[in-house]
Symmetry: C2
Subunit: 215 residues, 2 copies
DNA sequence: TAGATTGTTAATCGATTAACAATC
DNA sequence: TAGATTGTTAATCGATTAACAATC
């Protein structure tokens, strides 16, 4: 099946553009709170210190209507278009694998819910940890992970395990039909095509900070 | 003072390259554990699924010696060069501002120590939280932040506060002489030149995941 | 030696920015 | 109308990749 021009513009957004969306959303909600009903790409660009053409292109890729010269875009519509595009409004279930300090930290973070991510269980190998709950989310033994994922058709796995274990966990998740992995372990994961791996490299960020400080 | 060619190559690494460094480090340590004394850029590239010329360029920018055709680079030397470059070996003190779920999560994460980051205190506005400790790190009232930073000459601030408060906190940190900010709030911070802001956008990552799932 | 590997220079690729005509 | 703002096409910029001569 060819996907050259299917009418929807879903494929046109680059990763960078997609990552700017939450900023746009925040900016729009601020404008809405102020009572503004339309907003120009130019003003968004100024607020976020981005190029205005860039903002216009990003908006064009997700917005269902065109902007009007002079007034700009309708705020409400743009908000719901971005939310739809990001898939914020339909809840997606996720599990956390590795309930060490970072894993439990994420379990305790309620803000993910706002972005449509609902963490339903955590798994760990260490039986000092399993059996407990954090933020009302149960921590099970790792052996229960595969049946749990299959039964609940979990689409997202969050790996906060040590890097030595990460690839094996990823393989296991893939077998269960997971479709996206949020990887906090410092390894490149090998996954089949169609499975998205989003790497969250706190170590890389730390490298940036450290290097700047050390000059 | 002109900085065209000062002999050190510190300025030549791009952000992307710097972010690859932790992966190289991990890869090298794995090789070292296997008893290998030299390693080729080609083999690192294969392991990490990167282009070999890219790896060679990255290494050239940080490594003090040149590689030898056929054998490659000395593992030990490369490890210490990268560690030096990233500034892993000298401890840098940091504070956390905002001790909500994410902030306490980071407080509890002991892995940062391995990368040279030592979190010495946290601050919050909520007096249900202040006075406690997490992982032996005290949580103080926000009013004590400025004197603490000045007294201890803290170079790094980690913002895990709500986005409404983030800019004000950043301004305050800058006044105290902070040199880098690790920003987990979803706003672009305005800081003077010379202060690094490293944005950690969990929301942007979530946008990636959600969008992929929703297809 | 032959071959793996290096480092450099040039080509490619993709994202951002600039220029500009169209429009409310 | 005039001016702000839009959307598009072309130019720029920067990172990655390819080609290739040099070397252990």
């Amino acid at each position: 099946m060819d996907r050259k021009n299917t009418g929807d513009k879903a494929d046109t957004l680059t990763i960078q553009a997609l990552q700017r969306m939450p900023y746009y959303l925040h900016c729009l909600e601020k404008a809405k709170a102020k009572g503004e009903t339309t907003i120009s790409a130019t003003s968004i660009a100024n607020e976020l210190k981005l190029n205005d053409v860039l903002v216009r292109k990003d908006i064009a890729a997700v917005c269902s209507t065109k902007g009007k010269p002079k007034s700009g875009f309708p705020v409400d519509e743009l908000i719901s278009d971005i939310e739809d595009y990001m898939g914020i409004n339909d809840k997606k279930e996720a599990i956390i694998v590795g309930a060490g300090s970072l894993g439990r930290a994420l379990l305790g973070n309620r803000e993910f819910e706002e972005y449509g991510l609902s963490i339903t269980a955590a798994f760990d190998i260490n039986n000092d940890i399993t059996g407990r709950t954090v933020n009302n989310i149960p921590i099970f033994d790792i052996s229960e992970m595969e049946p749990f994922c299959v039964e609940h058709k979990i689409p997202i796995g969050i790996i906060t395990a040590p890097m030595e274990a990460a690839q094996e966990i990823a393989d296991s998740l893939v077998r269960c039909g997971i479709r996206a992995i949020w990887n906090f372990a410092l390894v490149r994961l090998n996954v089949p095509e169609g499975v998205l791996v989003q790497n969250e490299n706190l170590a890389s960020s730390l490298a940036m900070l450290s290097h700047h400080i050390t000059k």
